[in-house]
């Protein structure tokens, strides 16, 4: 019995146990307190303000922490979208949704929508195989001129979502509803380019409804870029006058949004809507502005002295 016990004791002391300790890769994190939107000087925080979509650069800074060092990051994705009816997962568009990415393996930044909406020289990143455990990134970006307008004074129409992915597929996210977010609005942008920068009539006294000569189509053409619903308005600077005397009253000039002189109304020195060019939707692409025109006609009163009569037509885009 005693020898049996000894034998058991020997068996216990000579046994082996093998095993491994697996340490999982922690997900990267994004420090929300270090996340801010700035102007392109970095001096002014622009969180909760309206951004200017007319070719003005802004920066967003954020710090990513990764216990396995920055070398373990796969990519960082920044999304800005209009959360009024749009979703973070929606497709990119100039009006509502932008994506920017940085890829660790190639150390490259990109904006799939257009290179126009990223300023590579303003972007900051850790580069490839960086051994730091945290880094403050910076994206320099612009919005399209047609990026959807937010109501004046309400700056929560748009927001950012930032996601860091590591090589193991772990994800750290900031901004999608929980744990705080950065919001901003987009200021109103309206632009008009008058293609026919001058227009003429030629006729005799007593003639009426003379169509304008402005490129040969009877209307003054213009293009419009806008980030909100818009309408066209016109006015005259005053009566048509001739050097050395002679006046044709401004009310002899009539305007309409289509080729229908019977519906046209007289110009005045106050802006008036152009019927037919109201409640126009914002273009979806800043490279494809809306193309419209205002038809003009002139009545030449009888006994009008001969000569060149001049006035100024002003066309504006309003809301």
């Amino acid at each position: 019995m005693a020898s049996l016990l000894v034998s058991f004791a020997h068996a216990a002391t000579s046994g082996t146990s093998t095993g491994t300790a697996t340490v999982t890769s922690p997900a990267p994190t994004i420090n929300m307190t270090d996340c801010n939107l700035y102007d392109s000087t970095g001096a002014t925080v622009k969180n909760n303000t309206s951004l200017d979509s007319n070719n003005l650069e802004y920066w967003i800074n954020f710090t990513v922490a990764e216990n396995n060092t920055m070398a373990d990051l796969h990519n960082v994705t920044i999304i800005a979208w209009d959360n009024r009816g749009q979703d973070v997962a929606d497709a990119d568009s100039q009006r509502y949704h932008y994506t920017w990415t940085w890829v660790e393996s190639t150390d490259t930044w990109a904006c799939p929508l257009s290179a126009s909406y990223i300023n590579q020289t303003s972007c900051l990143d850790p580069g490839t195989a960086n051994a730091d455990e945290s880094y403050t990134f910076q994206l320099g970006f612009k919005l399209s001129k047609v990026a959807n307008y937010s109501n004046g004074g309400v700056y929560d129409g748009w927001q950012f979502n930032i996601t860091a992915y590591d090589d193991a597929g772990n994800v750290g996210t900031f901004g999608n509803g929980t744990g705080g977010r950065i919001q901003f609005g987009v200021a109103s942008y309206l632009s008009i380019t008058i293609t026919d920068a001058a227009h003429t009539w030629e006729g005799a006294p007593g003639e009426s409804n003379k169509a304008v000569d402005a490129g040969g189509d009877g209307k003054v053409d213009f293009t419009v870029l806008a980030n909100r619903v818009w309408k066209a308005q016109v006015k005259g600077g005053g009566d048509l006058t001739k050097g050395g005397g002679g006046i044709i009253g401004l009310d002899n000039v009539t305007q309409y949004g289509s080729n229908s002189v019977g519906d046209s109304v007289s110009l005045t020195t106050e802006f008036a809507d152009v019927t037919g060019i109201t409640s126009q939707a914002a273009p979806s692409d800043e490279a494809s502005p809306a193309e419209v025109g205002v038809y003009l006609w002139l009545d030449i009163p009888a006994a009008t002295p001969s000569g060149d009569y001049v006035y100024t037509l002003t066309v504006q885009v309003a809301t």
């Binding site: 200017d52 070719n55 004046g152 920068a197 001058a198 003429t200 309003a318």
Partner: protein, 194 residues
Amino acid sequence: MKSKAAFLAVILVLVSVASFGFANQAFSENYTAGLGISDYEANTNVTIGESKQFEIARLSNEGTLDLIVTATWIPDFNATDAGIEFRFYPDQVNLTVGSEPILFYGDVVKANALGTYEGHIQFSTAVQLPEGYGGNPSVPGGSAKVTVNIVNSSVQFGVSVDPGILLSVLGFGIGALVTVVVGFKIKNRRQRAT
């Protein structure tokens, strides 16, 4: 024959009676006049008695012709009252082709009376048509909204108090205090008398 020539001459004069510019030359080149306006719809609070500068709009030339832009303040609601001394700058600029956009600022020189002052800056433009490019100019315009709220300094605590109301409340409080003190003294005298 003589009368026929005279008749033709009269006809030619009539045709040119009301000609505007130089139709045959006007459109040989494609010039454009363009204006872009980022309207910041400025809505700012100014404490009574103080001044403040703020951004109104940013204008850009979107055409191929230089623009002279003139800005005019159009009050929508009692902005000409003595309650506010408001100006803006610049009031006229040359917005040349390819130049950087230009910022327009509002400047509340002095806020004198509580209230909301609304209006807009109207931007008018003029172009210099190139030589040989005649006719009546067609120019772009636009506007930017401005709202100035003149508030009491107490607005920072979330409550705006009109000075008149404040004086009334203080007056009522002092009156109530005097009444209580006098009443207390009269009561004491009565107690001592008994």
